[in-house]
């Protein structure tokens, strides 16, 4: 796997998300319950950044129309979204957080 550094530990607060662009790809790094997750940042329903959304119970909720996506699987959990988002493997090494695209 090709690991790319996406951020540093401590850069994202608990239950917060950070927008990161890598190679023109819009990604969101989420931090909840001590774990990091990386997903596509654009909602599959309509253009909105999930990094502006809300995290609860392992899901990120879109700020526009409250569609929810499971951070672990990317699965669209409720209307109005019907298409899943892509999620990516994440690892931390020391103070650095890496993603594999």
């Amino acid at each position: 796997m090709n690991w790319i550094k996406i951020a540093q530990v401590g850069q994202v607060d608990e239950d917060e998300s950070l927008a990161v662009d890598i190679d023109g790809k819009k990604l969101a790094l989420h931090f909840t319950q001590g774990e990091y997750f990386v997903s596509d940042n654009v909602c599959t329903h309509q253009y909105a950044l999930l990094s502006d959304g809300y995290i609860e119970d392992g899901c990120v909720e879109c700020p526009l129309h409250q569609a929810q996506f499971d951070l672990r699987t990317g699965k669209a959990m409720c209307a109005p979204a019907t298409v899943d988002i892509q999620v990516y493997p994440v690892k931390t090494e020391g103070e650095d957080i890496f993603v594999s695209l």
Binding site: A48, G53, Y54, E61, L64, Q66
Partner: protein, 425 residues
């Protein structure tokens, strides 16, 4: 659940689709029939005034509530392009326009409504448009594309959304509203002021507090003329009438169900049951009492259609249901996503966090309406994530310190967490 083996859903919109999905999710295995008068399988209406209107014919966005094979896969008999012409609550059966008679154990009225007609603006007139259905939206789209000027009658949510889309498409827009401000029944005055400035910045013209004195609709291809009470003359290529919704209650009346005398909706209880124990109703056509609000409400929202459908479906098969979610509504217009939590009430005091700048590319602010220091209504512009963080405070009507709320140096989520922790003691 044992005595229910046949459920008839009348109407094939958002509420109908959500209800039948919920029936199957509850494990109900009996017959389900859905009858809709439109040719289309259930679709979402919010995009009709926005993306569907602005789309190219060949690139219309997908707006189906459920995937194409959902109804056949879940053994739901979807009868489209047919009307229910009579509903006999005593015999528990309905008759369709093609003569079919359908008997039911439980019936769900998800009939929605029709665009309220404005006298003098017949829908058949070539320049006049009403917007409720996908077919309406397609006809309106073609007209907007062929027009230089449009007049929108009605400064409510739908009228403003259409005006916004029309501006995006390069059409000159004039909006006529009889009230002194836009969205007068839904938002506080300060919000109307902001939105009016935003509308003006888009180049659309607003005529507020104006009655129509005279209208002459020409032949097809000819401009129409509207003269306002103050003498202003508006020549236009097309007219969009967006003056509200008339709930579709013809069948309910025929079946002898009770309607609300004020809002004209079908009276339903907390389980969405009508005055007939075997008939339920969900969505735009209903009138319901809700905790915290003095009178019955007829809510025209995507969320209400979903929530009532879910609750009605559970009640029809005798399954318990989570209570309805806190009222939530959104509109996308003039490059802003506007969301509302709760419902407007008289005598709320509003405090604003952020700068309601009408000009910028993406202004961001939240207005919180409070009574006795507790929030009951919130409006967020381009701040859905922040509004979401506030939701538990509104749901539980927890006390909020107005000064701390407006302090932008503290993130909204941190503020909400602190308020929740304080309430927990």
């Amino acid at each position: 659940m044992t005595d229910v083996s046949s459920i008839l859903v009348i109407g094939a919109g958002q509420a109908a689709a959500v209800a039948v999905a919920a029936l199957r999710d509850q494990g109900y295995q009996g017959r389900v029939t859905v009858v809709g008068d439109e040719a289309h399988a259930p679709y979402e209406r919010p995009p009709l005034s926005k993306d569907v209107l602005a789309a190219l014919d060949t690139e219309e966005p997908g707006i189906s509530v459920k995937e194409a094979d959902f109804f056949s896969q879940r053994d739901i008999d979807l009868k489209l392009g047919r009307q229910v012409v009579s509903l006999d609550a005593e015999a528990r059966q309905a008759t369709l326009s093609d003569g079919t008679v359908i008997a039911y154990d439980r019936c769900l009225l998800a009939t929605g409504g029709t665009a309220r007609q404005l006298p003098g603006f017949p829908a058949q007139s070539p320049q006049v448009h009403y917007l409720r259905t996908l077919d309406d939206a397609r006809r309106l789209r073609a007209a907007l594309r062929a027009s230089r000027r449009a007049v929108v009658i009605g400064g409510g949510f739908l009228g403003l959304e259409v005006a916004s889309t029309a501006r995006r498409m390069g059409v000159e827009v004039s909006i006529i509203e009889t009230a002194a401000r836009v969205l007068a029944r839904a938002v506080p005055e300060a919000f109307s002021d902001w939105l009016q400035a935003r509308v003006a910045a888009s180049g659309a013209r607003l005529y507020l507090g104006q009655a129509i004195a005279q209208a002459s609709l020409g032949e097809a291809g000819q401009p129409a003329r509207i003269i306002l009470a103050d003498g202003t003359t508006l020549d236009t290529d097309m007219i969009v009438v967006a003056v509200g919704l008339t709930p579709a209650t013809g069948l309910a009346q025929q079946a002898g169900l009770k309607l609300d005398p004020v809002n004209a909706g079908i009276q339903v209880d907390a389980q969405c049951r009508s005055s007939d124990p075997f008939v339920y109703a969900a969505g735009d056509c209903t009138s319901q009492l809700r905790d915290g609000y003095p009178g019955p409400l007829r809510l025209e929202s995507w969320q209400n259609a979903n929530e009532q459908a879910r609750i009605a479906a559970c009640a029809m098969v005798g399954a318990p249901a989570e209570p309805a979610a806190y009222p939530w509504f959104w509109t996308d217009q003039f490059d802003c996503n506007v969301q509302m939590l709760g419902l407007p009430q008289p005598d709320l005091r509003y405090v604003t966090r952020g700068q309601p700048d009408p000009q910028g590319p993406a202004p961001k602010f939240i207005m919180l309406g409070m009574r006795d220091g507790r929030p009951c209504h919130a409006l967020a512009v381009n701040a859905g994530g922040d509004l979401r963080a506030l939701r538990p405070l509104l749901e539980r009507a927890l006390p909020v310190d107005a000064q701390r709320f407006t302090d932008e140096s503290v993130a909204m989520r941190a503020f909400a967490k602190a308020a929740l922790a304080e309430a927990a003691g």
